[in-house]
């Protein structure tokens, strides 16, 4: 331990407040386990003052569809990281059990459920966008989507949005 005394420096996190860093996350999965990585990253980016957008496409649209967003499931089928014999994974009740276990673990860590997490991200200034092709394919309109979703946009609009951003595909 040093005993050097210095004038209190201005912390770096205050000096670099006006970061122009921008992140666009693409959430393409509709399972509970694959919903969280995007939400955690978005929330973390916002806490660092980074402009953050999430584009929900394909199965990821379930994350922002009102009637589905509270009922995302985790399944052990095809997921060897759940460490159970794969022959047992498709048995009746296994998906419900895996979902229940995952929800419990997430809750114990103080992490909110998907709708509440999305609300926190929106409250923190995050931007939520739905993919037009996926919305058309699943017959979903703006009214079916979580209120904080700003718009349904097509791929060219997403290209404009992400032109100067770091893009992360999940």
């Amino acid at each position: 331990m040093t005993t050097d005394t210095m004038e209190m420096p201005v912390p770096a996190f205050a000096a670099d407040e006006d970061t122009d860093r921008k992140i666009c996350l693409i959430c393409s999965k509709g399972t509970l386990d694959m919903a969280y990585p995007g939400l955690v990253l978005a929330n973390g980016a916002l806490q660092e003052g980074i402009e953050t957008h999430i584009f929900f496409t394909f199965w990821g649209l379930d994350m922002i569809t009102k009637k589905r967003m509270s009922h995302l499931k985790a399944t052990p089928v095809g997921n060897t990281a759940m460490h159970m014999p794969q022959a047992a994974a498709p048995l009746p009740g296994m998906t419900a059990m895996a979902t229940r276990m995952l929800k419990k673990e997430i809750d114990e860590l103080g992490i909110p459920e998907v709708p509440e997490f999305l609300q926190q991200i929106a409250d923190a200034g995050g931007h939520l966008w739905a993919c037009k092709m996926s919305a058309d394919m699943m017959d979903v309109s703006q009214d079916d989507l979580f209120e904080e979703v700003e718009d349904i946009i097509d791929v060219s609009e997403f290209m404009d949005l992400s032109a100067d951003a770091q893009v992360i595909f999940i």
């Binding site: 331990m1 040093t2 005993t3 050097d4 005394t5 210095m6 004038e7 209190m8 420096p9 201005v10 912390p11 770096a12 996190f13 205050a14 407040e17 955690v40 929330n43 973390g44 806490q47 660092e48 003052g49 860590l109 103080g110 992490i111 909110p112 997490f117 926190q120 409250d123 923190a124 200034g125």
Partner: protein, 105 residues
């Protein structure tokens, strides 16, 4: 760890400038710390957050995350971003003289 002086106070800080000894903190010092990061006036709403963080740290031993401040402290996330712009978790911990919060929410 290093020792730094701020407006006459001698305090222990880590390499990012966060205080490492909560006992060295005082309400007057909080005002100087806030000024360091561009918050010139601590309002009653700021104090509500700071007091929650101090009390929570005293019982839990860790710095509360934004999520914890909003759910247990009763201060909405939107308001936390308004009070401590851009980097609320780091800023509120810094002013409260606590280590920066660890955790992903």
């Amino acid at each position: 760890m290093a020792t730094a002086t701020l407006s006459g106070y001698e305090i222990h800080v880590d390499e990012e400038g966060f205080m490492t000894d909560p006992a060295e903190w005082s309400e007057e010092l909080a005002g100087f710390l806030a000024h360091q990061i561009g918050i010139d006036e601590l309002t009653e709403d700021h104090w509500k957050v700071i007091r929650f963080l101090r009390e929570d740290h005293a019982t839990e031993g860790t710095t509360a995350t934004l999520r914890r401040v909003s759910t247990l402290g009763g201060i909405p996330v939107k308001q936390l971003y308004a009070l401590f712009p851009k980097k609320p978790a780091k800023k509120m911990a810094y002013i409260a003289g606590l280590p920066k919060p660890k955790g992903c929410v």
